[in-house]
């Protein structure tokens, strides 16, 4: 499916979605509350069939956090990007681990690196950081490593 068709279909599914121009793929911005329903629709709609979540990450924009989901379809080979804006002080979003199992691991990584709380996640624990890690989240912009080899 071409980008224009994709846009039309997604607007049909979620009229509130806004599109970001530029970039090679369709770039959708949705509200955190709408996201789970849209995700299910994207996965289950036979014309879209986005079954492959190949990248899940978060960007800290200092004023807010943005969850970035890269989706692809192994059947139609079309790609899209979904962005969900989150409140930086209390970032919360529904988990996708029931739809794409790979989200479980990636969300755990985002949880510890950015402090995003994934609601209804089956196993939201620290994955990479050592047990008992307290304090800030390493990949946020205000985190300064006490020992930074590069800036020595």
């Amino acid at each position: 499916m071409q980008n224009e068709e994709l846009k039309a279909t997604i607007t049909e599914l979620l009229p509130a979605a806004t599109f970001e121009e530029g970039g090679e793929w369709v770039n959708v911005q949705v509200e955190a509350a709408d996201w789970l329903a849209l995700a299910q629709a994207l996965r289950n709609n036979p014309a879209l069939n986005f079954d492959y979540l190949f990248c899940l990450t978060c960007v800290d924009w200092k004023t807010h956090l943005t969850m970035v989901y890269h989706l692809s379809s192994t059947q139609y080979r079309h790609n899209m990007v979904v962005k969900v804006k989150l409140d930086r002080n209390k970032p919360e979003v529904e988990t996708l681990s029931a739809i794409w199992r790979t989200a479980e691991f990636h969300e755990r990584e985002v949880y510890e690196m950015f402090g995003v709380n994934f609601l209804n996640h089956p196993d939201l624990r620290l994955l990479i950081l050592p047990d008992g890690w307290e304090g800030r989240n390493p990949l946020r912009k205000d985190f300064e490593d006490p020992i930074n080899m590069i800036k020595l």
Partner: protein, 371 residues
């Protein structure tokens, strides 16, 4: 630990495999719940070699951050560098000279063979056959020497730069690569004799670690792991980059869905890589090896995503740029991380001895998982 797992019952045995263990090839830590010899749950604990390359890259310029990625999946260092260089080029809209493209593809494929070579040896070693490791290294060593001659290093080459490659090919490169292909063709039948055809090996691999195509997709697996389940996933074919769309090679697919299928995919992928090298080695176009770029690179504001096929699967580089000389945020979508997440799924219910076979066929490189 016992309380955490929750599912544990009376009489279960919890053992820690790793961080120092001969089978994990690095500092992977698996907490395994066993019932006798049968695995009930596998729980990976990561982070022993986490260097936060993503955070580091945020304070490095677009020329500098590439070298760090060699340390992610050190066995396909060239391909990691390639992905980053491609992503920066996408942002800069630089046209890479034809010669540089061919050199890059040649290096990528040599790296892929070297990586699979090491995997093959280590895989056999996991299953208790120590000898194949040395035979694999004999071939791998010739590749390393070719790399050393042209790139100046054997493992972390840092040869790809935005706009092309760092240096031109060494004059001996073509001759040595041809010699390697000769050696490879002369020795490849040993792989079948020693390992592939061996009845013990086949029994250890067949039907072990069943991964259905649906699960492979849902868990975000990529590379030989998905292709072993019959799912097309070769980025070189589906989203071609560089000159891969002009080359003749097959995407290796096996439908066994088990460890043996994944094993066969990798062994046959080596042959395809040799095929690609044979097509290119006599047809390296003359010209520049590097496009003219500015001394200080600045990417325009925006987001750039580039995926390539490493020896382990799909590597994605996601650069968010604010228009400065350093990336605002970089995300590496490493193949190993997603491939590891499937381990619990496929290992549950099998024997402890199978776990090493499964980990072997997932081809885990721990720095790639931890980044």
């Amino acid at each position: 630990m016992v309380e955490e797992l929750g599912k544990t019952m009376e009489g279960d045995l919890i053992i820690n495999v790793g961080p120092q263990h001969p089978a994990t090839h690095g500092v992977l830590h698996l907490v395994i719940t066993l019932n006798g010899e049968t695995i009930k749950n596998v729980e990976p604990h990561l982070g022993y070699i986490h260097r936060s390359i993503e955070k580091m890259s945020e304070s490095l310029t677009y020329r500098q951050f590439i070298y760090v990625t060699s340390r992610m999946d050190y066995l396909s260092a060239h391909i990691n560098n390639h992905a980053c260089a491609l992503c920066v080029e996408k942002g800069l809209q630089v046209e890479v000279p034809a010669r540089a493209q061919v050199i890059r593809v040649l290096m990528d494929e040599l790296t892929r063979i070297a990586s699979h070579e090491l995997w093959w040896g280590a895989m056999a070693m996991d299953l208790g056959a120590l000898t194949p490791f040395f035979y694999a290294f004999r071939e791998r060593e010739t590749i390393n020497e070719i790399m050393e001659e042209t790139c100046g290093a054997r493992l972390t080459m840092n040869y790809m730069v935005p706009g092309g490659v760092l240096q031109d090919l060494h004059p001996d490169f073509q001759r040595k690569v041809k010699e390697f292909i000769q050696l490879y063709k002369r020795k490849i039948h040993e792989y079948d004799e020693l390992v592939t055809g061996n009845i013990i090996f086949q029994n250890r691999m067949k039907g072990v670690g069943y991964l259905s195509p649906e699960d492979a997709i849902s868990y975000g697996c990529s590379g030989p792991v998905t292709r072993g389940s019959g799912v097309r996933s070769d980025v070189r074919k589906i989203y071609p980059y560089e000159i891969y769309d002009k080359l003749e090679f097959d995407e290796v697919l096996e439908t066994g869905c088990d460890s043996f299928a994944r094993y066969l995919v990798r062994v046959r992928e080596m042959e395809q890589s040799v095929r690609i090298i044979e097509q290119l080695i006599d047809n390296i176009p003359e010209g520049d090896y590097q496009a003219k770029t500015k001394a200080v690179l600045k990417l325009p504001k925006g987001e750039f995503y580039q995926r390539v096929e490493t020896a382990r699967g799909e590597l994605g580089v996601y650069i968010v740029s604010e228009g400065g000389t350093t990336p605002y945020r970089i995300k590496y979508r490493s193949p190993g991380f997603s491939n590891l997440s499937v381990l619990n799924k496929i290992a549950t219910g099998s024997k402890l001895g199978d776990l090493v076979a499964m980990m072997g066929t997932l081809d885990l490189v721990i720095p790639d998982i931890d980044r």
